[in-house]
Structure formats: C-alpha cells, structure tokens
C-alpha cells in the first residue's frame, strides 16, 4: 500500500472524524477505525520519520 499523503478531516463539532489520503495514487476517505486496513496502514506510515497526518485545525 503506497501512501503519499494524509490529512485529518473534522466534523461539525471540530473533532477529527476521518482521514483524506492518497493511497496507491487514488484519493480515499478513511474512517478512524482500528479495524480498517487503510487506517492501520496510515498509522504505520505515520510512524516513519518524515511522514505526518496533516492536522490543519480547520
């Protein structure tokens, strides 16, 4: 799974509710669900130096 970027999206209450990511060249919306394989892969990706899930605070 090739992840090139990931950004948290917030719900109307201002809480992170999903991650918008580019995975294998495709834009995907990934739920914050530890049972979701893309979420698991993003967490692994983010644990590598230089990779971050962008939290723009919006």
């Amino acid at each position: 799974m090739n992840i090139t970027n990931a950004t948290y999206l917030k719900n109307q209450e201002g809480e992170n509710s999903e991650i918008k990511a580019t995975i294998d060249g495709k834009e995907m919306y990934v739920p914050l669900d530890t049972d979701n394989r893309h979420y698991q892969a993003i967490q692994e990706w983010a644990s590598i130096d230089g990779n971050n899930i962008i939290d723009n605070g919006a």
């Binding site: 999206l9 719900n11 509710s17 999903e18 294998d24 834009e27 919306y29 739920p31 049972d35 394989r37």
Partner: protein, 337 residues
C-alpha cells in the same frame, strides 16, 4: 427401524453441511473491482473478491478472472496469475503468494486451542505450465503459528484436483472478533528466508524458513501462469464436493468486505442546515468494519463524515440558497481484511 445417533466429538465429514466452506468466493465468480489488473509487483492486490495476490521482488504479474476452468465440474471462472516480467534469481526475501484472510469469528467452531481442535481439509483445482512442488500454508495470525502442506502439479497445462488435510491445533485459540485470524497462503515463489529450513507440516510457532520449503519459483519465466478455482476449506478430514452457493448469496458474502456502485448509482445530498447539505447512505449490507470510501463528488466539496459498518453520513459544503444538485457516484466501500 431403529435409528442410532453416532456420537462423534470431531467433525469427520462435512458433506451436506451448508456454508461449510470457510473460503468465500472459492469458485472465483465475483470480481467487483475488475476482471484484470496488470503490472503487479508489490503490496496486496485484489482482483477476485476476497483473494489477494502479494508479490515482493518476484517479478511482475497480471491477475485475471479467467474462463479457463476444469471441464465438467460446474465451475465458470478461475483466478489466473500470469508472469509478465520474470525473476529467475530470487532474493532471500522474495515471495509471491495468492491468499485469503479469514475473520476469527467465522472460525470458532474449529475449536482451535482446545483438546477438541478440528482438522481442516483444503481442496482446490489447479493448473500451470510449471510442474513441481507447491505449498499451501495456514497461518494463525492471533498466535503466530503455522502449518504447511505441499502438493505437486504433475502434468503441465492440465487441471488437477488437490486435497490437503491439516491436523487440528490444540494450542492457541482464534480470537472471536472481526479481525484476521487465519491466512490461507497459496505459495508461488519464495526466497531462502522462507525456504531454507524444513517444511513445517505440523502446527508450530512460526519460523519463516520453514514455511515454503520446496516451493518452485513460478516467477522464473514470462511463460509461467497459474490458475486456481474451486477453493474450499472445511472442517474434517474429508474433502466434500465444492459448495456452489447461489450468486446472490455469494455476492452478499463478498459485500461484507467490498461494495461498488457505478457512475449511474447516484446518491444525492439533502439540505441539512442553511450552510450544509448531508448525504445519508445505507450500504447494501452490514460491512466487516467502517469502510474506506472512494468516490466522485459533484456539486460541492465534501467535508467530514460519520461512517459506521451500516451507513455513511457525509456533509457537503453548499448553502440552501444554491440551486446546484449535489451527489456522489462511482462509490466504492472497502472493509477488506
């Protein structure tokens, strides 16, 4: 007529038992993502529903849903892997396998980790130009234990039925949840990291070197191809006839893990507040986990969503004064293991 119930603590024979096949889409009939994918060199690659092809430093592959099937057995489709760039000198960490992952909650009746642990039998039809030894491995992801059995493709380009029985494992229970507990590996190539030991033919703590000993290198020529269909894993020591399920039942079992909607399947958003619209959409069936979504949105940008195993609630940034229709289409939902 006196009828005697034969007591049997173990499941010796699954013939006649509905839903006895632990493998989903074993007849390779469903391919919701598409019927052909090229240029596969790494990662986990889905073509046929529920089955993934995983290569690493083992050539380049095309996987296809094929109509080449064993004659007179009732199958309509098979999975085909075709080598398009060869690797005749595998690295130590090279690997190539075709795999299905199984939820732990579907395996509890195997009683793994108890004194009554069930044997299981894997049966399948296979065909390849490359004859020789191949490995099918069961890997317990919860306890990092595994068992491997070998089979031989005897005749080139000829469909052959194979049956492999694996003893029950009295150590290490499968977790009773929706996560992957069992990996079923159809090995097709392995470097020395996976082949340099002694094949582990009884359940044991994993040692990578013992997992695929003797496996031929299917990646050694662009002439190589491998077909499989009729994959069935069932409790007991007997391979029953393949369990053909109705198409709708088979499809819904696959839709627990993946659902797809065309560009004509439009899901419109309704006005939710003065500033937002909301798209509320229930899935075809309950999914294994909250799914990853991919879609095309028209009429407004989407913001955050609430996705459960049953439905999506997605905001669309568009005020009530706008006359623009908002909808998404070409949606895919992925809750694969």
């Amino acid at each position: 007529m006196a009828i005697t119930r034969i007591g049997n603590p173990a499941i010796a024979d699954q013939r006649g038992v509905n839903f006895r096949n632990i493998i989903i889409n074993g007849g390779m009939d469903l391919a919701q993502r598409g019927t052909s994918f090229t240029g596969i060199t790494s990662g986990s690659n889905y073509c046929l529903d529920r089955f993934t092809t995983v290569p690493a430093s083992a050539g380049t592959w095309t996987q296809t849903q094929s109509t080449d099937v064993p004659t007179g057995q009732g199958f309509a489709k098979s999975a085909k892997l075709d080598c398009t760039t060869a690797n005749g000198s595998l690295s130590a960490n090279s690997l190539l396998y075709f795999q299905q992952r199984v939820e732990g909650q579907n395996l509890q009746y195997l009683k793994k980790g108890t004194a009554n642990a069930e044997s299981v039998t894997m049966s399948f039809w296979v065909k390849s130009n490359k004859t020789g030894t191949y490995i099918v491995e069961l890997f317990d992801n919860d306890n990092t234990r595994q068992i491997s059995k070998s089979y031989t493709i005897n005749s080139a380009n000829t469909w052959e039925k194979k049956t492999l029985t694996y003893a029950g494992d009295t150590t290490g229970a499968f977790d009773n949840d929706n996560a992957v507990s069992l990996y079923c590996f159809f090995w097709l190539a392995g470097g020395t990291n996976y082949t340099s030991g002694t094949l582990s033919t009884t359940w044991t703590a994993n040692t990578n070197a013992n997992r695929a000993v003797g496996q031929v290198n299917l990646a050694d020529s662009t002439s190589n191809e491998w077909y499989v269909t009729g994959v069935q894993l069932e409790a007991g020591q007997v391979a029953s006839d393949f369990e053909f399920l109705p198409h709708d039942v088979n499809l819904q079992r696959c839709q627990r893990y993946f659902q797809t909607f065309t560009s004509e399947d439009r899901m419109y958003a309704l006005q939710y507040s003065s500033a937002y619209r909301a798209l509320v959409f229930s899935y075809i069936c309950t999914m294994r986990a909250s799914p990853t979504q991919s879609f095309t949105a028209l009429g407004g940008s989407t913001t955050a969503t609430y996705a459960t195993v049953n439905s999506i609630f997605r905001y669309i940034n568009l005020a009530y004064t706008s006359g623009t229709a908002t909808y998404i289409h070409s949606l895919t939902l992925d809750a694969e293991l």
